[in-house]
């Protein structure tokens, strides 16, 4: 069984919501659609107070190349264009819409039958993906059209589809593969056409045997697509790790996957591409997992963008008693939410409720030089050294030690027997070093 070669851990999987069918969350009275929830520039609002919008209508125009459009997820009247607290407590621009009915744009095909043939040219597909505002739904929310247009002189050979879902608790991609397998396959053929590649590989971790078997069965009728089961190991869902696991190629430090002739796309993104190209439906809803050790009915929910997370949680059975922390995203990479009154964003893959007995950090003690963090680091860094340098603000040394390669997977903090806050300090260093590199580049220009 394949897996990536350097480092990695195996946290307890806790996939309580596996096998739960995707449920649709009822529409609330009001949604708040964030305009700045992806990497890159926030988009510009193109609606104003009092405008009536339909489902799928453009409300935020991309501002610049690395930026994505935002579409209304409901029909109703715009009550204001203002700022809204996001999950980190800072205020971001957002469009507030009061829901009236559920009226969709006429251009969206609402039938559920699968459209396999795609007659569009490469350019047409790219334009459709760009105008549908599709971003990477794995978490980093990088605009998909940028990824799909490799820089001149670079050519992709293989398309990798990321169905790994290595985070504990999360099952939204798993369930999507089981329920929308055919659609994902069509999405893959569309992406293959855009990138002009002959081969596509779907990487799925071995704990999702049913998905592996199901996709293998239907992949027979799609030439060039192969399903590869992978050994369960965190952080296999990181694109550099996945490329290493499947192709045995290492992305050079500071470079992107196209450098080794590949492009990685998440299964949820692929499904969104299918919907955008074949059905004309922009990215305005996604599947998210609600789970936790003490959650009554963990499940997978199809949620429209901009719905308050508290609304989703209420429909899923409310916050369990004795909850210590609520995490947005998976427990490894996600961040604690400071309140639940934040709108659903394109990158929200799940909500995990952590009971208070598990949510406390242990007292941090001295480093005992056991080098466990070095062993598990999937990027081959030395987390203990980077932490010490960050504490002492030795930025140049950190840069030499390749701090910018850190993918912030948290394996080092997870494995440390002394509870050292490794990732906290490394992230601090990474932010500062990144800032220094950017300002140095700006000074050169």
């Amino acid at each position: 069984m394949k897996t990536f070669r350097i480092g990695g851990i195996h946290p307890k999987e806790n996939k309580f919501s596996a096998g739960q069918r995707i449920k649709t969350v009822a529409l609330p009275d009001r949604v708040v659609i964030p305009l700045a929830h992806y990497s890159g520039m926030p988009s510009r609002a193109v609606v104003k107070k009092g405008d009536f919008v339909k489902v799928g209508q453009l409300i935020g125009q991309a501002d610049g190349y690395v930026s994505a459009n935002v579409h209304s997820s409901v029909s109703g009247r715009v009550s204001k264009v203002d700022v809204q607290l996001d999950a980190s407590g800072y205020k971001r621009p957002a469009v507030f819409i009061d829901v009236e009915g559920d009226e969709w744009l006429e251009s969206i095909d609402l039938t559920t039958d699968i459209k396999r043939e795609c007659h569009f040219t490469k350019e047409e597909i790219l334009t459709k993906i760009q105008s549908a505002g599709i971003v990477g739904l794995g978490g980093a929310t990088f605009p998909a059209h940028v990824k799909l247009a490799p820089p001149p002189g670079k050519k992709a050979e293989v398309l990798i589809i990321n169905g790994v879902e290595c985070e504990p608790f999360l099952t939204c991609d798993h369930q999507l593969m089981l329920e929308k397998g055919e659609e994902i396959m069509v999405g893959i053929t569309i992406l293959m056409k855009v990138l002009a590649v002959e081969k596509a590989v779907i990487g799925i971790e071995n704990n999702k045997q049913d998905a592996v078997e199901y996709l293998r069965k239907i992949a027979k009728s799609y030439p060039g697509i192969r399903v590869v089961p992978l050994k369960v190991r965190y952080p296999q869902g990181g694109e550099k790790q996945l490329i290493d696991a499947i192709l045995r190629r290492q992305v050079p430090s500071g470079k992107i996957p196209i450098e080794v002739g590949t492009v990685v796309m998440n299964v949820a993104t692929t499904f969104a591409v299918y919907e955008a190209v074949q059905k004309g439906k922009p990215l305005m809803e996604r599947v998210m997992t609600i789970s936790g050790k003490e959650v009554q009915n963990p499940g997978n929910y199809l949620v429209r963008l901009g719905v308050y997370l508290s609304e989703v949680v209420n429909q899923a059975g409310g916050v369990p008693e004795r909850t210590g922390k609520i995490i947005g995203g998976g427990p490894m990479m996600g961040r604690s939410l400071m309140n639940l009154d934040v709108p659903m964003a394109k990158g929200s893959a799940g909500i995990v409720f952590v009971p208070d007995r598990d949510s406390v950090r242990g007292q941090d003690r001295n480093c005992i030089r056991c080098a466990k963090c070095v062993t598990v680091c999937p990027m081959g860094l030395e987390p203990f050294l980077l932490m010490n340098q960050s504490e002492r603000e030795m930025w140049d040394e950190m840069e030499q030690n390749r701090i910018m390669d850190c993918i912030e997977c948290g394996s080092c903090s997870y494995t440390c027997p002394s509870n050292r806050p490794l990732l906290d300090y490394i992230r601090y260093g990474k932010t500062t070093v990144g800032f220094r590199i950017r300002s140095r580049k700006a000074a050169k220009v």
Partner: protein, 288 residues
């Protein structure tokens, strides 16, 4: 015996040869430095704080010697006494600079700004600031983990354990600006110390609209314009939903302090107000 002699002669010979070489090289590449650099540096406090804007005391000494006048140069640590000593060495005249002090512009203590969540990451302002807005509803206010305290070389700024807001010791503060650079929320400002340490400033940095900032903190500036209107010296400007008092124009009349509805404008080290003002206020109320 011969071996020992040979060794002494060879090593000694090499030594003498190199010594001569080094002598000529050092003569050839001699850096002729103004001896006044050392003299000036010796009078400086050797705090190397960077408050003067130069890299350490040596850098400041060089700048003092090289510049034509000492008008724009000031050692914030030593003050006018040090500058007079420097001036006497250099034969220039020292100019007294207005003494300045660091001011923390956040009044959101535990009483006025309730904590809404608990942060259990590394207790470091910068790390918390990178991660999220902070334990309170105000994303502009003090985080209270004491990066400023760590940055201070003079032990002049301390986080009060009860209010969780840093307090500046005026006696010790040299206004070097280390805390200004350390604060990720940019709350600390170097202001004029004022006569008898009397100062008036807006104790808030919340740039949200009034209704939003008021929800998260009782003593936030809501940019209501009252102080702007009442100020007879045009010392107050309003921008970004925030009032700012320019210390070079402020005449310390305290009118703005009286009108501020949220007590966001703070007066420091003033004697208690005279009775008549209060009495007047009372009569007004009774007349109504």
């Amino acid at each position: 015996m011969n071996t020992i002699l040979a060794a002494i002669l060879i090593l000694g010979g090499i030594g003498i040869l190199l010594a001569v070489l080094i002598y000529f090289v050092s003569e050839k590449f001699k850096v002729i430095e103004d001896p006044r650099y050392d003299q000036v540096e010796a009078t400086l406090p050797a705090a190397n704080c960077g408050g003067c804007g130069f890299p350490g005391c040596r850098g400041f000494a060089v700048a003092c010697v090289e510049s034509d006048s000492l008008d724009h140069l000031n050692c914030t640590v030593g003050g006018i006494e040090t500058m007079e000593k420097v001036a006497s060495i250099l034969g220039k005249t020292a100019v007294a600079h207005t003494p300045t002090v660091a001011v923390v512009r956040c009044g959101g203590d535990c009483e006025h700004r309730p904590r809404m969540n608990e942060y259990d990451g590394v207790k470091h302002c910068f790390i918390a600031h990178n991660l999220y807005s902070g334990e309170t509803g105000c994303s502009w206010g003090c985080l209270g983990f004491g990066d400023c305290e760590l940055s201070c070389d003079f032990d002049a700024i301390k986080v009060n354990p009860i209010t969780k807001i840093p307090e500046v010791d005026e006696e010790k503060c040299t206004s070097c600006g280390a805390c200004v650079r350390a604060c990720p929320k940019m709350l600390i400002e170097i202001r004029k110390k004022g006569p008898k340490s009397r100062r008036i400033y807006v104790n808030c940095r919340n740039k949200d609209k009034g209704n939003i900032s008021r929800k998260s903190c009782n003593v936030s500036c809501i940019a209501c314009n009252k102080c702007f209107k009442v100020c007879p010296h045009e010392a107050i400007s309003i921008g970004d939903n925030l009032a700012f008092i320019h210390d070079d124009k402020c005449k310390l009349c305290r009118k703005c302090v009286e009108v501020c509805p949220t007590n966001a404008i703070v007066e420091l080290n003033f004697p208690p107000r005279r009775k008549p003002v209060e009495a007047e206020g009372e009569t007004l109320v009774t007349n109504k």
